[in-house]
């Protein structure tokens, strides 16, 4: 309140202040030893002020009253200075303030209350299981837990307290050929980072599954190099989530579409808005994509965003047609005449107190199909294809058109049956053609959440945690390359 008053007195038309405490615990292991054991905490205050239609942002670790006043005035001064270089003054969409907002990630077990011994024992036991497999030479495993406690106050009248949790257990096994001519790794790609507590670590069953991942790492050494060509691809949710992230999540960010991220993250092929909203066919009619900050267990799920907008859930693609972007309050008026939406979708986020909030991706998910297929149904219906599980190497151009995606493990599919393991597989394509080749969609039973802690965007770059749900899906006639081949 002190910050809000100080900046307002200095002439700001709008101010928000965030006091944020971030706790970040990480445990890393390698074979039989703990390589990383740390538990970090950072606290500070961030003041964002709007003067003359321009933003100012100042943050510091101090919470002393006199310093907070100094920071707030500095934010106002900075905004005033920046306003000389503003052509289109910031306009904020209205929001219903909540003076007593409270929300926390619904978790089962507080990960910070679980003993260190239990965590270390679990990881080292999983490592031992992996190393039991002949040929598995190296194994690393880790757990990461994050807690963000935020108090947001704004001159709109909101005072909101939130506590967000996220949890990510991982394991990676590496096999090395006896003649040192090859090495291959397999990670626990099916275990997603989640907006959950320690119960997610327990459910991940690293120890029980480590042997299977180790066997697959060893198997990759002798897998058959893929013959390049066009294949039907069956993409497991553990893989498809990242394809959704790159080829749907990012191009539907409105700041990109309008050129605001051109210097780093890039722009978007989905532009200009008036030519694509309600018109652009992203994929077949079975394709429906939902943006959602309310989904339980997902990483971008909140009660309110970082400018006090309640969590929203809205369609981005309906029956295969692109219908809306991701927005923050200042972006709404840019497209409201085309969308008829006059409120923010609540996509404002800052990774910590020391970074300014801006538009970040909500959970963006491909909804299950109406036929209740599971992945085996997709396989059974495929004559010649490749099954891909897990995230691998991902790269896409700055307008989100040309991509090349790899995975963790690949299996040949012949006449409806999963065959031998393949390696050196990546598929290349162009986003609209790729999504329009979607011809079979799993149902609710095959739906899973994937995600990442580290979606990078902005300058200075910030990491946004985000999840993507999807069923297994089949894409017809996709170009597959062998990553060891030239030309």
């Amino acid at each position: 309140m002190l910050a809000l008053d100080a900046a307002s007195t200095a002439g700001a038309s709008y101010v928000d202040a965030r006091v944020m405490q971030v706790r970040d615990q990480r445990i890393g292991t390698r074979e039989e030893r703990v390589t990383d054991l740390r538990d970090d905490e950072s606290i500070g205050i961030a003041v964002r002020a709007l003067v003359g239609g321009a933003w100012g942002f100042v943050a510091a670790r101090t919470l002393e009253r006199s310093d907070v006043v100094r920071l707030a005035r500095a934010a106002g001064d900075q905004a005033r200075g920046n306003s000389a270089a503003v052509r289109d003054p910031v306009q904020l969409a209205p929001v219903d303030p909540d003076p007593n907002g409270e929300w926390h990630t619904p978790i089962g077990i507080d990960p910070f209350a679980v003993s260190l011994e239990e965590k270390v024992d679990l990881l080292l036991a999983a490592n031992a299981e992996a190393l039991r497999v002949p040929g598995a030479r190296f194994v690393t495993s880790s757990m990461a837990f994050v807690r963000l406690q935020t108090t947001l106050a704004s001159t709109d009248g909101s005072v909101i307290e939130q506590t967000l949790y996220r949890t990510w257990p991982t394991l990676t096994v590496t096999a090395v050929a006896s003649d040192y001519a090859d090495f291959q790794s397999r990670s626990s790609a099916e275990v997603a980072p989640m907006g959950l507590g320690y119960e997610h670590v327990q459910a991940a069953r690293l120890g029980e599954r480590a042997g299977e991942w180790a066997e697959e790492a060893v198997q990759k050494l002798t897998a058959t190099p893929v013959d390049p060509g066009d294949y039907d691809l069956i993409l497991d949710p553990s893989h498809l989530f990242l394809t959704i992230h790159e080829s749907i999540g990012h191009p539907t960010e409105l700041d990109r579409a309008l050129g605001f991220e051109a210097n780093y993250a890039g722009t978007s092929f989905l532009a200009p808005p008036e030519q694509v909203l309600g018109k652009f066919r992203y994929g077949p009619e079975i394709m429906n994509v939902l943006a959602d900050r309310t989904q339980r267990g997902a990483l971008a799920t909140v009660g309110w965003d970082d400018e006090g907008v309640p969590a929203d859930s809205w369609s981005i693609i309906r029956d295969g047609v692109f219908v809306d972007y991701q927005t923050t309050r200042e972006q709404v008026h840019w497209i409201s005449e085309h969308t008829g939406v006059h409120h923010s979708h609540g996509c404002s986020f800052a990774q910590s107190w020391d970074r300014v909030q801006f538009q970040r991706m909500p959970n963006v998910s491909l909804l299950p199909g109406h036929d209740d297929y599971v992945i085996d149904d997709l396989i059974a219906a495929t004559e010649r294809g490749i099954l891909i599980k897990g995230r691998g190497s991902y790269s896409i151009d700055q307008q989100r058109l040309n991509f090349q995606f790899g995975g963790q493990v690949f299996y040949e599919i012949r006449n409806g049956v999963v065959g031998g393991m393949l390696k050196d597989v990546a598929y290349q394509g162009r986003t609209p053609e790729f999504w329009n080749s979607l011809d079979m969609l799993g149902g609710r039973r095959s739906y899973q959440l994937g995600g990442t802690f580290y979606d990078g965007k902005g300058q200075p770059a910030q990491s946004n945690p985000v999840s993507h749900g999807c069923p297994a899906a089949r894409f017809g006639g996709v170009s597959v390359i062998n990553t060891t081949a030239r030309g």
Partner: protein, 448 residues
């Protein structure tokens, strides 16, 4: 609040060390001012000024250890952090690879702090950015960019008497200028510790504008191996990736591009073209990096490749002891020696090829050979008979970095580049423009 002086940092280290009961303690204090201003669509969009001091404390009980980083630095905050670190360390299993703490070391200090950079406050930044944005507006183009400066100090101390301190500044300016129709895009940028040694932003904005205008009406070329002229930033985007492959341990364990078939590593082998001499040196006036590691180990000059021969890999203290050799810390930036001339000078010697401004979304594809994929971006042009003749559509590559360094035809004069795709202030990278044959492009991109 400001950057901690050596005396202030030493005092804080001593307070933290004195607050604990662990057998041994390591402390790292990082304090800094971070200021940035962004612009897009020819106007300032966001800016920021951040002050922070963070302490990383590692407590050791015998071979057990744990770390905490914190920034609540009053008496209660320090006491709480010490308690937590000691509690965690007491519960940690013994680490058979733990090395003894270093004792007092001597360091050659690096003159990396410049008032010209520290004084680049929000008001000054707004003026600089407005100049670039206004120039784009006046030219009928769309300017976007980022100006950042940091001023920081780092101190490392331990209970065995080691103390190291350095302070530095760093700035970068990058800009992407696009045509209003979105059919052309150009990029330019630079970075240095000393703001006055950086190319003026107005000149960079002009370069980016020229590139944008010249990149319209791009034609698609058949993806294939091409001779390329890589501008220094494009070289930096790729060469910096070597840092991830220079671990001696990974090589010795058989999981690196520098593993030797049959076992061991490739030190002493001719790996890349004999024109390649790559080294790290915090004292180099073009690099000006911190002269010690996070545990206070001095960083000197290390030659990684000399005339194409792999001379060194990075050895942690543990791995060096195990392999009975000297430790080789990784740090001190990366400098690839070049020749003379600019990228355009190199173009004049190329009969047929492609000129690349920078790369984007570079990701590892095959760690065995350091094959990476990614795309060209913001200025990709056809070279015909020693001339840049027209824009070509962007291209995806799948290319081994090691192989690329083996296919060098010619190199120009090395310069400091913004090597990170994000325009961030990462490791100092100094590289020349180069001509490379058989650079492996695998598909076209319609992205502009």
């Amino acid at each position: 609040m400001s950057i901690l002086t050596e005396a202030e940092a030493r005092q804080l280290c001593e307070r933290v060390i004195a607050a604990g009961t662990a057998d041994e303690v390591e402390v790292r204090v990082e304090s800094g001012l971070d200021g940035n201003t962004r612009f897009a669509v020819n106007q300032i969009t966001t800016a920021g000024a951040v002050e922070d001091t963070q302490v990383t404390l590692t407590a050791r009980f015998g071979r057990r250890s744990a770390s905490v980083r914190f920034n609540a630095l009053d008496r209660a905050g320090i006491a709480a952090a010490v308690r937590k670190a000691e509690q965690l360390a007491g519960l940690a299993p013994e680490d058979p690879e733990q090395m003894p703490l270093l004792g007092p070391e001597s360091y050659r200090m690096v003159p990396a702090f410049f008032d010209s950079t520290k004084d680049l406050d929000s008001e000054s930044r707004a003026v600089v950015v407005k100049t670039a944005a206004d120039a784009a507006e006046a030219a009928g183009l769309v300017g976007t960019g980022f100006l950042r400066r940091i001023a920081r100090s780092t101190a490392v101390a331990n209970s065995n008497g080691l103390f190291a301190y350095e302070r530095s500044t760093l700035a970068s300016f990058t800009t992407t200028v696009r045509t209003r129709g979105g059919d052309g895009s150009g990029w330019s940028g630079t970075t240095h510790n000393d703001w006055t040694r950086m190319t003026p932003p107005a000149e960079l904005a002009e370069r980016a504008s020229r590139k944008a205008l010249r990149s319209v009406q791009a034609v698609a070329v058949q993806p294939a191996p091409y001779t390329v002229v890589l501008e220094p930033t494009a070289v930096g985007n790729l060469v910096q990736l070597l840092a991830y492959g220079l671990s001696a341990r990974a090589a010795d364990e058989g999981r690196s591009a520098f593993s030797r078939p049959g076992g061991g590593n490739s030190i002493g082998d001719r790996i890349v073209d004999e024109q390649v001499t790559l080294y790290s040196d915090p004292q180099d006036p073009d690099l000006l990096e911190r002269p010690f590691t996070d545990e206070g180990e001095p960083i000197g000059r290390t030659v990684w490749f000399e005339n194409g021969v792999l001379r060194n890999l990075a050895y942690s203290r543990y791995w060096a002891q195990r392999q009975q050799t000297q430790s080789v810390p990784f740090g001190g930036g990366l400098k690839l020696e070049g020749g003379s001339g600019t990228a355009l000078d190199l173009v004049s010697g190329v009969e047929s090829g492609i000129l690349v401004t920078r790369f984007w979304y570079i990701r590892g594809v095959d760690p065995r050979t350091m094959v990476y994929t990614g795309l060209t971006r913001d200025g990709t042009y056809l070279i015909e008979n020693g001339q840049v003749t027209r824009a070509v559509k962007n291209l995806r590559f799948n290319q081994s970095i090691v192989e690329m360094l083996g296919n060098i035809v010619a190199m120009g004069a090395a310069e400091r580049v913004v090597a990170s795709e994000s325009g961030g202030l990462g490791r100092a990278v100094v590289v020349p423009p180069m001509v490379v044959r058989d650079f492996n492009f695998t598909s076209n991109s319609d992205a502009v």
